[in-house]
């Protein structure tokens, strides 16, 4: 009896203490798993990541570029919001400022990054992204990762879904989520409709639109040029959230693109806001609504182009629709709050479950056949995942290795930094049967969607210095041009000097400062800040930028380089001399040459300096 008690006791003690012991089998396993996960994301200094992950910046109005698998933040590309550090749209008179200001507010809400494709693969030319808040679309040049074009979509409010019309990427297809009357001037809810727009992929001019009652949410293109799909959650055309969930079923909309093009060619449209608008009721077949459970959200065409999946959101299901016949094939249950679905290269779908805070992996073929074991795996993510995207899932050739879970809440996942918490993204290894959450990383607000592009696609495309443009200021051709109270300053910079090193203006003069960085080596960015004038220009090697401002009160204003460039970075500065009206000005671009500034007696180096 006594031995038995002692054995029991020791077992109880072992179990109790084992829970806190660092050497319990369970914790050893976890440590081993951590070590293996760490190895997967470890990219040593000097080595490059395999993928660029381009995340929309949401209300930051930009896109974020991360390296995958390291999850290292690499760059933010400002688009719809000025970014003074980068000299983007912060200086009135600059090209970036003019372009953004010409299209609307100096703020935007980016949602869906879309990469250009050729033959069902990313070709590394362009990235398109929408501004939900102001009905704009931008095109980013992936050679420079800079915004190349921004345009407003007429007749639209709340540009939400965005996709490239495949396989040609001839159009960018943009969805209007927020209803308004056709021209947008009425407050009468009875007149509300929505439009979807087909934009020229290069100029971003709206070529034509299709209008309908209700709204459009997320977009995805078929692969063969027939349909572009969208989820429609407000077929009620209601104006309250209660009203929008009234119907049991809403729809997937399938826009027949060839039919729409034909309608435009045949003149079956009304021109509104300068754009041909096809009323869907007048052109049968141009918009087919496929009923799905109410208020669907995600809309994703499978890589083989056979199916379009509508994620249920309020329904625990994903609706599988034949992308050609538009027949509903199956409606498998996947979990609570399915929002978006993405794909690997082995016929599996990965659906984000907002309510369950999970990614669920399921087999599409088995779900269609009604086999009970279509759910393959589930993994917890932290927390409330919105979009999820696997590498290459928007192309015809997903790579099936990595998946990003773009979570809406981080709730203490990172060091506490006050009530405004960072967003949380998680990297999931989907190369095996079981998914593994490998790493979590924070980001500014608020990525809605992401795309991966392999390093090899961009390898020969990304430039590292700019070619001098025709409007560049050339070395030796710096000058100050005066025309009444307008002064044009043509300036160059190269380590470690601005030329001219001083210029004179009158108080209140309108100064247009054009600056060219004449460096030829990569990463040698210079900036010029003008104190108390709100000016910071940043120019990368070979780049030219300009700013226009009014000279302040008389005095000396030292303009200085804002990008630490060299051993003489701090000395890289010059003077804007503002004089009172009527005072004489000196127009010599560089009145003090280097030699004149230095003492005339030559100081011999000490003897020890010689070998």
């Amino acid at each position: 009896m006594k031995p038995l008690i002692s054995i029991l006791l020791s077992t109880v003690i072992a179990v109790l203490t084992g829970c806190n012991s660092g050497s319990s089998p369970r914790q050893q396993r976890s440590a081993a798993q951590n070590a293996s996960a760490a190895q997967q994301v470890y990219v040593p200094p000097g080595k490059l990541d395999d993928y660029y992950a381009i995340l929309s910046g949401g209300q930051s109005g930009s896109v974020f570029v991360y390296g995958i698998p390291s999850c290292r933040f690499i760059k933010e590309v400002p688009i719809f919001e000025p970014r003074a550090a980068l000299g983007y749209a912060n200086n009135p008179g600059s090209e970036t400022y003019r372009r953004l200001a010409a299209t609307g507010p100096m703020w935007g809400d980016t949602h869906h990054p879309v990469l250009s494709q050729t033959d069902g693969r990313y070709d590394g030319r362009w990235l398109w992204i929408n501004d939900k808040a102001n009905a704009r679309v931008a095109r980013i040049d992936l050679r420079t990762f800079e915004t190349a074009e921004i345009k407003v979509i007429p007749n639209m409010q709340g540009t939400h879904g965005l996709t490239a019309y495949l396989p040609t990427c001839k159009y960018i297809f943009a969805n209007g989520e927020l209803e308004q009357d056709a021209a947008g001037h009425s407050t009468d809810a009875e007149k509300y409709r929505s439009v979807v727009a087909f934009l020229d992929a290069m100029t971003l001019e709206t070529k034509f639109q299709v209008s309908f009652v209700g709204n459009a949410d997320i977009a995805s293109s078929g692969k063969d040029g027939q349909f572009v799909f969208m989820t429609m959650y407000n077929t009620e055309n209601a104006v309250t959230s209660e009203g929008m969930i009234e119907f049991d079923r809403d729809a997937i909309g399938a826009v027949n693109v060839p039919l729409a093009e034909q309608a435009v060619a045949e003149g079956k449209f009304t021109r509104i806001g300068g754009v041909p608008v096809i009323e869907s009721e007048k052109v049968p077949g141009v918009l087919t609504r496929v009923p799905v459970p109410k208020n669907p959200h995600g809309c994703n065409v499978t890589p083989d182009g056979k199916y379009v999946l509508a994620s249920g959101k309020l329904s625990p299901t994903v609706t599988i629709i034949d992308a050609h016949t538009l027949k509903v094939l199956a409606e498998p249950e996947v979990g609570l709050g399915p929002l978006h679905t993405t794909f690997d290269d082995r016929g599996n779908a990965y659906t984000s479950l907002f309510v369950d805070s999970q990614i669920v992996k399921w087999n599409i073929a088995k779900a269609i056949k009604g086999e009970p074991d279509y759910i393959v795996d589930r993994v917890d993510v932290h927390y409330n995942v919105g979009h999820t995207k696997a590498a290459g899932a928007d192309t015809s050739h997903p790579s099936g290795d990595w998946l990003l879970s773009l979570n809406k809440l981080s709730k203490g996942l990172f060091l506490p930094v006050g009530p405004a918490m960072p967003e949380s993204q998680e990297l999931v290894d989907i190369s095996g049967e079981k998914m593994r959450v490998i790493a979590a990383f924070p980001s500014p607000p608020e990525p809605h969607d992401a795309v991966f592009i392999h390093r090899e696609v961009l390898e020969d495309l990304v430039v590292q210095t700019h070619e001098l443009t025709p409007d560049a200021v050339k070395l030796g051709e710096e000058k100050v041009v005066r025309n009444g109270n307008k002064v044009e300053v043509y300036m160059t910079c190269i380590r470690s000097k601005f030329t001219p090193e001083q210029f004179e203006v009158h108080e209140g003069d309108e100064v247009r400062l054009r600056l060219t960085n004449v460096e030829t080596v990569r990463d040698m960015t210079h900036g010029v800040a003008i104190p108390n004038h709100g000016i910071n220009i940043a120019v990368d090697p070979g780049q030219t930028a300009e700013a226009t401002f009014h000279a302040g009160a008389p005095g000396t204003y030292w303009y200085y380089c804002t990008w630490f460039c060299s051993a003489l970075h701090l000395e890289m500065r010059g003077r804007m001399l503002v004089k009172a009206a009527g005072e004489a000005l000196n127009d010599h671009p560089d009145p003090l040459s280097r030699d004149e500034k230095l003492p005339s007696t030559t100081i011999q180096p000490p003897a020890s300096a010689y070998e």
Binding site: E519, T520, V521, A567, L568, T602, I603, A609, Y610, E611
Partner: protein, 224 residues
């Protein structure tokens, strides 16, 4: 191919081939880089390494970046060099001359080719001497008002590696120099081959040539 007796007037095919090859190498070398300098530092590694490539007529490479860097240590990097005026001639003139010699009387061919080779070697040596002098000046005649302190005078290596401030400097001869070297060698061989046909000049007939130069008979190509 080259029958005894005919060699008294026409150069042997081998000499012709060698001289043509030498001239070809010199013509190629005229536009090929002579010398290559590579500079590496932590922030100038791999594809960021700086290069200076000297051709007979010009120099290319990261000259602007070198000028920018050198302003801190007071080094004046010349944009051009005086020898670019005559170095192209060092390649073109011997090439032309060596070809002309083919049409000269057989008796002075050998000495002419030797002379051209020696002259070519000599002028190249002058160019090397001048370059070494210029390189010493670059590192020693520096602007005393330069920004950086504590930089010691230096001479970049002409061939080989040296550490200069933060840079590892590697210098080597390049294709053009090898072309010139090979051309010198080929001209000398051509002269050597020519020597064996010398007796043909004094002999009246092919038989005499063969008699006076018995080694020529041992050469199957010459006697067949």
């Amino acid at each position: 191919m080259n029958k005894p007796g005919t060699s008294s007037r026409r150069p042997r095919w081998l000499a012709v081939a060698l001289v043509l090859a030498a001239a070809g190498l010199l013509l190629a070398g005229f536009r090929l880089p002579l010398w290559h300098l590579r500079m590496e530092a932590p922030q100038y590694r791999g594809e960021d390494a700086l290069h200076v490539i000297v051709y007979p007529h010009t120099m290319r490479g990261d000259l602007q970046e070198l000028a920018v860097l050198n302003q801190y240590i007071g080094v004046h990097v010349p944009e051009t060099l005086p020898q670019f005026r005559w170095l192209p001639g060092v390649f073109l003139v011997p090439a032309g001359a060596a070809l002309l010699v083919l049409f000269l009387p057989a008796g002075i061919r050998r000495s002419s080719w030797v002379g051209i080779a020696v002259l070519l070697a000599f002028t190249l040596l002058i160019a090397v001497y001048q370059a070494r002098h210029q390189m010493r000046d670059i590192g020693h005649k520096r602007d005393p008002k330069a920004a950086l302190m504590g930089v010691k005078d230096f001479t970049p290596p002409f061939i080989g590696s040296r550490k200069i401030a933060q840079f590892e400097v590697h210098s080597r001869l390049s294709a053009g120099a090898y072309c010139a070297g090979a051309a010198i060698g080929l001209l000398l061989i051509a002269a050597g081959v020519t020597r064996q046909t010398q007796p043909a000049r004094v002999g009246a007939t092919g038989v005499a040539a063969a008699t006076l130069a018995p080694d020529a008979l041992n050469r199957p190509a010459a006697s067949s």
